[in-house]
């Protein structure tokens, strides 16, 4: 029979094409995430740092010539990663994790002679020397006394603890009591560990802070990977305490990618201060685009020199702030200009 071709209604084509489009989108949404290269579901957990593990295991504290008792490990070295670090240090974990933490190795060593004498070591792998210096400097206790043991001058002791930085590692040795024999053992441990750690890039203080030299209170330099001075724009920022006349001020400096982002950061910080109640002050200074603000009675001075943002924090008065700022600016000037 003759087939009378019936008219194909247009809406059938429209719907068909629409459904095809839906299929296409389904296909894309299945395939595209595969290029994200996240780790597969069947992930095997990262193995312990075999070399650092055995390195720590190999440190042996025998009876020393001066009679200090031998120490032995209390159990096995425990390894923590970013996910379970809180199980060891609870509330402090976010601070480390946010600063680039990768791994912690820790164990107790107990004196074979005296049950009460023991110390715990914490070896934090912070991935980068700057991060290690950051967590070291920010947590520095006020009663820190200097430690001249190592080449690195990033170390200090308190009554019962020995804390230092080596390469990307931040190391804490915490003793259970105030005891010289105990501290000697900890020192010996630190020496052996420091010698055994593989050669690596060490943290180097930025030029300007070295140039500021004697004017900075030794050991006051802190490096924040984030949130310096309570402002979230200040990542990778140094703070230090500067001696001027007979008082101290806190200075800060931060290396930005380029001049324009440095200028923007200055503006952002000032906006942040003003939003929280600071008052802008004017003063005659020969530093280009410098800003001075009075924050509830203390002075904030912030400026940029090329790509470096620097300034004074909580100065007592404008004169002091300006003085130190000028000194800072001089230090920051590139050599050719000096």
């Amino acid at each position: 029979m003759a087939e009378t071709r019936r008219k194909k209604p247009r809406h059938e084509s429209v719907i068909s094409l629409f459904l095809l489009a839906v299929l296409f989108i389904i296909g894309l949404s299945v395939v595209i995430p595969q290029f994200n290269l996240r780790t597969s579901r069947t992930v095997v957990s990262a193995g312990a740092a075999k070399t650092l593990d055995s390195l720590l295991d190999s440190i042996v504290l025998r009876r020393t010539p001066d009679g200090a008792a031998g120490f032995e490990p209390l159990s096995e070295i425990t390894v923590y990663n970013a996910e379970n670090l809180y199980e060891k240090i609870d509330g402090k974990a976010p601070f480390y994790v946010d600063s680039g933490f990768e791994k912690l190795l820790t164990n107790w060593l107990k004196s074979q002679q005296d049950d009460q004498l023991m110390f715990e070591f914490y070896v934090y792998d912070m991935a980068e020397p700057a991060n290690a210096f950051s967590v070291f400097s920010v947590q520095k206790r006020p009663d820190a006394s200097p430690l001249s043991l190592f080449e690195t001058n990033f170390g200090y002791r308190t009554e019962n603890a020995l804390l230092f930085v080596q390469g990307k590692y931040y190391i804490e040795l915490i003793g259970s009591a105030k005891s010289e024999p105990l501290f000697n053992a900890m020192t010996e441990f630190a020496k052996q560990l420091s010698a055994a750690l593989p050669d690596q890039k060490q943290f180097s203080m930025p030029e300007p802070l070295i140039a500021a030299g004697d004017n900075l209170i030794p050991g006051s330099i802190k490096f924040y990977t984030a949130n310096a001075l309570g402002f979230d724009g200040f990542d990778n920022t140094f703070t230090a305490v500067y001696k001027i006349d007979s008082s101290n001020v806190t200075i800060f400096l931060s290396d930005r990618p380029d001049e324009s982002s440095a200028e923007q950061l200055v503006r952002d910080y000032c906006k942040f201060l003003i939003d929280t109640g600071a008052e802008e002050k004017s003063a005659d200074i020969d530093i280009d685009k410098a800003r001075i603000l009075d924050f509830y009675g203390t002075i904030e001075f912030v400026f940029n020199n090329g790509p470096v943002v620097a300034g004074i924090h909580e100065a007592d008065d404008i004169e002091t702030a300006v003085k130190v700022a000028r000194l800072l600016n001089d230090i920051l000037k590139p050599d050719t200009e000096k």
Partner: protein, 331 residues
């Protein structure tokens, strides 16, 4: 005409069908939502929910909170409890008492991150010799390995020497509970076993600063009764601390501010993190105890949002002055 009627009939039928379809979809959606299970099954088959008993004793106005200054912990705590009516007010003869100290870390007593073992021993002694308790248990669900924590903090030894039994957490000791009105404690495992057979619950905690919560005192001490991946609550630390005191109503809490950890809490690490403030607080109301305790850290109650949250939930009062604290000195 017929066509119009037909159309009307069709439209009515269509609407009826559409309505039924809508209802079916809604029903399917509701079923899916109520039964939605994000985590999947746990290793143990699901168990019944338990309720934590209320361990508080009747209030005595003017004898709710005592603040005693003194260098010797044992003498100071004796005085603090006596001022509230003595241990006999709280523990009756033949009672089973559970003491919940802070045993969270493998940290030696001198570092102040855990409860001082002397205090634990003294409270146990009071329970047995003065109050004639039948049995005292000491328990906690520490952050680090439990056996090591009880050993290195010396609390284990102090407890057993004083005649108490230490209950180390085991998986079967945890049961699920839900806090009515709670946001986070829902089908959450708590260390129920020791509490199930207890008549009284006494919390003992040191005063410590805490990087997340600003302070860790008697309220945060009860975090140690939670099980599971409780770390997840740190993201809303103030709410969970408030929920802890809504969940747990202790008989008495002791807040040890003899050596307060003012920096680098909650683990500390250096003796220089501790400051001698020589104060011990005994209180029937953990919120009040913490409200006073924060002053030892140089903080104000307003600095601890969880105090206000707990107060508005009716779990205690942040205005400790209104409870007329009894203040004393011990030489």
């Amino acid at each position: 005409m017929n066509e119009q009627n037909d159309r009307k009939l069709n439209r009515r039928r269509f609407l009826a069908r559409a309505a039924k379809a809508g209802l079916s979809i809604a029903a399917a959606g509701i079923i899916a939502k109520t039964l939605y299970d994000k985590q999947g099954p746990s290793a143990q088959p699901s168990s019944e929910l338990v309720t934590i008993p209320d361990f508080s004793v009747p209030a005595m106005p003017g004898r709710t909170i005592s603040i005693v200054k003194g260098r010797d912990r044992v003498k100071t705590i004796d005085k603090a409890i006596d001022l509230l009516g003595g241990i006999e007010r709280f523990v009756k003869p033949d009672d089973t008492v559970v003491i919940k100290p802070n045993v969270a870390f493998t940290s030696v007593p001198a570092l102040g991150a855990t409860t001082n073992p002397e205090l634990v021993a003294e409270v146990i002694r009071l329970c047995y010799s003065r109050a004639q308790a039948k049995q005292v248990y000491v328990t906690d669900n520490p952050i680090n390995n439990p056996a090591s924590c009880f050993t290195i903090s010396r609390i284990g030894k102090a407890a057993t020497s004083a005649g108490a039994k230490v209950i180390l957490p085991r998986v079967s000791f945890f049961k699920l509970t839900t806090l009515e009105g709670g946001k986070y404690i829902e089908n959450w495992p708590v260390l129920y076993q020791p509490l199930a057979k207890a008549d009284k619950l006494i919390g003992i905690a040191p005063v410590k600063s805490h990087s997340r919560a600003a302070a860790s005192m008697t309220m945060k001490n009860f975090y140690g009764l939670l099980g599971g991946r409780r770390n997840i609550f740190h993201q809303d630390i103030n709410t969970i601390i408030a929920e802890l005191v809504m969940l747990i109503k202790p008989t008495l809490v002791i807040l040890d501010g003899t050596e307060t950890m003012v920096t680098n809490g909650p683990t500390g690490g250096s003796f220089s993190d501790l400051k001698r403030t020589d104060t011990i607080i005994a209180s029937c109301d953990p919120v009040a105890a913490d409200s006073f305790g924060c002053s030892l850290l140089g903080l104000k109650p307003a600095d601890l949002p969880y105090l206000a949250k707990a107060q508005s939930a009716g779990a205690g009062t942040a205005d400790y002055q209104s409870l007329k604290p009894i203040i004393a000195n011990v030489t």
